[in-house]
């Protein structure tokens, strides 16, 4: 990806061509990865290792971010609800906001930043130091071994991390709320979940599997195709975050719309 604003200014038609070319190459890479995912060997060991790297190592970031978001959302919600004398609805409103949208999207964006950059830089480094060629020369399908395992790891880790984010957020919200109103933990969580049914929890959380697929695929592609030494590695890392975040936000709009159409009862 070598698209720049100067390219847009000097040669807009060339830029459009480059965009289409990159989109085509990314689509081809995605197709190769999907096909490779169903071929033996299934690389379970590598998937577990990558899931640990993506999931477990993201936990501190997700936990602290979730708690902070919960506190802030709780304070904002209280400010609004107090005007209408509806303080008892604060846990419920917080749960709806967190579980329906804020939790999944924030988790996706945070993982795109932490993991997407890491995958882009790691695979980019392997590309420019010929380690990917070395894998191929050792009769290993590098797309399968490097990309598919990371894509699957992201798809596994994202819903789990989203659940962690949701509960960390509710925990943060509880701390903020109990400090003001003295509400008990049991009553807080009772209010939080009394208006949510299971489908309303499952659908937004499952949506993050798609986010994981996007983050894994985009960052693997950009790392896999990196060129130009350390500058190329930096570019792959940065573009992994930018492109996967942009795609994630765009796809989120589509997914929310699809959920509204297919599961009206589950749409928040």
């Amino acid at each position: 990806m070598t698209i720049s604003m100067s390219a847009l200014e000097t040669n807009p038609s060339g830029l459009i061509g480059t965009l289409f070319e990159e989109a085509g190459l990314l689509s081809r890479f995605t197709l190769q990865a999907v096909r490779a995912a169903f071929r033996r060997p299934f690389e379970f060991g590598e998937i577990i290792q990558q899931t640990y790297a993506v999931g477990w190592r993201s936990l501190p970031l997700i936990l602290t971010s979730g708690a902070a978001i919960g506190v802030v959302l709780s304070m904002h919600t209280r400010a609004v609800m107090e005007r209408f004398g509806a303080e008892s609805l604060i846990p419920s409103a917080l749960a709806i906001a967190l579980i329906g949208e804020t939790g999944p999207l924030m988790t996706g964006l945070l993982v795109a930043g932490r993991v997407g950059a890491g995958i882009g830089a790691e695979l980019g480094g392997m590309r420019v130091t010929e380690q990917i060629d070395a894998l191929e020369s050792l009769a290993v399908d590098s797309i399968h071994y490097l990309a598919v395992t990371r894509i699957i790891a992201c798809m596994i880790a994202l819903p789990i991390l989203t659940t962690v984010m949701n509960f960390a957020g509710l925990g943060g919200g509880f701390l903020a709320e109990t400090a003001i109103s003295g509400i008990s933990l049991k009553l807080y969580f009772h209010h939080a979940f009394e208006t949510l049914d299971l489908l309303e929890y499952i659908l937004p959380t499952c949506k993050t599997v798609v986010f994981g697929f996007i983050i894994g695929t985009v960052s693997s592609y950009l790392g896999y195709t990196a060129t130009g030494g350390s500058k190329g590695i930096g570019r792959a890392s940065t573009m992994s975050v930018v492109l996967s975040s942009m795609l994630l936000i765009f796809i989120n709009v589509l997914l929310v719309r699809i959920i509204f159409i297919l599961f009206p009862a589950g749409a928040l």
């Binding site: 480094g125 130091t129 060629d133 191929e136 020369s137 009769a139 290993v140």
Partner: protein, 249 residues
């Protein structure tokens, strides 16, 4: 060379990158058990030749044969299978930097054999001892010197006992003593006679020491090929320049 079936055959191979023709109608054979040294100035397509052989790149035109397999026409599954018979020592070794030296060498065994872990450990120790790295099993690649990395890379390339070994610049950046050590390792493979070796090198001393057959590339073309004696007699300027480099003319 006559009478011996070629293990490797390049037949009219051309390859371009971004409009620049790196190889132009290149043809040569390497017989089974032979050592072919590809010589040429930087940027003449030597490393590209090795990558084409390994199937890491596809030629624009021409055919590449390894034994009876036409490399560029293989699908990915058959290419992976064909590569199990090949070893590749990269110019900068390309060791996996997240693994120790022993894990790097064990990697092909863990992937492609059903050997027990204890048998793998024994094989790895033996192979690393053969390249003088028996005391560096747990070192990370970044902790090794250039020569040690090269030897570790050679141990990894040879761990599956490949019938074809491709070596990219084995002596680049190395001192003459380490260069001689690597040459000695390649000569021991040559004398065993089971491995066909293609070496890309700038180092004429090494090429004279190990090569049965020298191929000189210039601007994407083969300008001369033959054994050391034939090349010493060559009247072609670029060949004379290379061959005189070690005679001190």
């Amino acid at each position: 060379m006559t009478g011996v079936l070629p293990t490797i055959r390049f037949d009219g191979v051309s390859k371009s990158f971004g409009g620049k023709r790196v190889l132009d109608n290149v043809s040569f054979d390497v017989p089974q058990g032979g050592v072919c040294c590809i010589l040429g100035r930087s940027g003449t397509g030597k490393s590209v030749t090795l990558k084409l052989l390994m199937g890491l790149l596809k030629p624009d035109t021409g055919k590449i044969f390894m034994n009876d397999l036409q490399i560029e026409s293989l699908d990915s599954a058959r290419l992976v299978k064909a590569r199990k018979a090949m070893g590749f020592l990269f110019q900068y070794s390309a060791l996996f930097d997240s693994m120790t030296v022993a894990e790097n060498v064990a990697f092909p065994l863990r992937r492609h054999t059903s050997m027990s872990e204890s048998a793998i450990q024994v094989a790895v120790k033996e192979r690393l001892a053969a390249v003088g790295l028996e005391n560096d099993l747990d070192q990370m690649p970044l902790e090794l010197s250039g020569g040690m990395r090269k030897r570790a890379g050679l141990a990894r390339a040879l761990i599956l006992d490949p019938s074809i070994l491709l070596v990219d610049e084995p002596s680049s950046g190395l001192d003459p003593v380490t260069t001689r050590e690597i040459d000695t390792l390649l000569l021991s493979l040559k004398s065993a006679g089971n491995t066909t070796i293609v070496v890309v090198t700038h180092n004429m001393t090494s090429a004279r020491r190990i090569g049965d057959q020298l191929v000189v590339l210039s601007e994407g073309h083969i300008v001369a090929q033959g054994n050391v004696e034939e090349m010493d007699q060559s009247k072609i300027e670029v060949v004379r320049q290379f061959m005189s480099a070690t005679r001190g003319d």
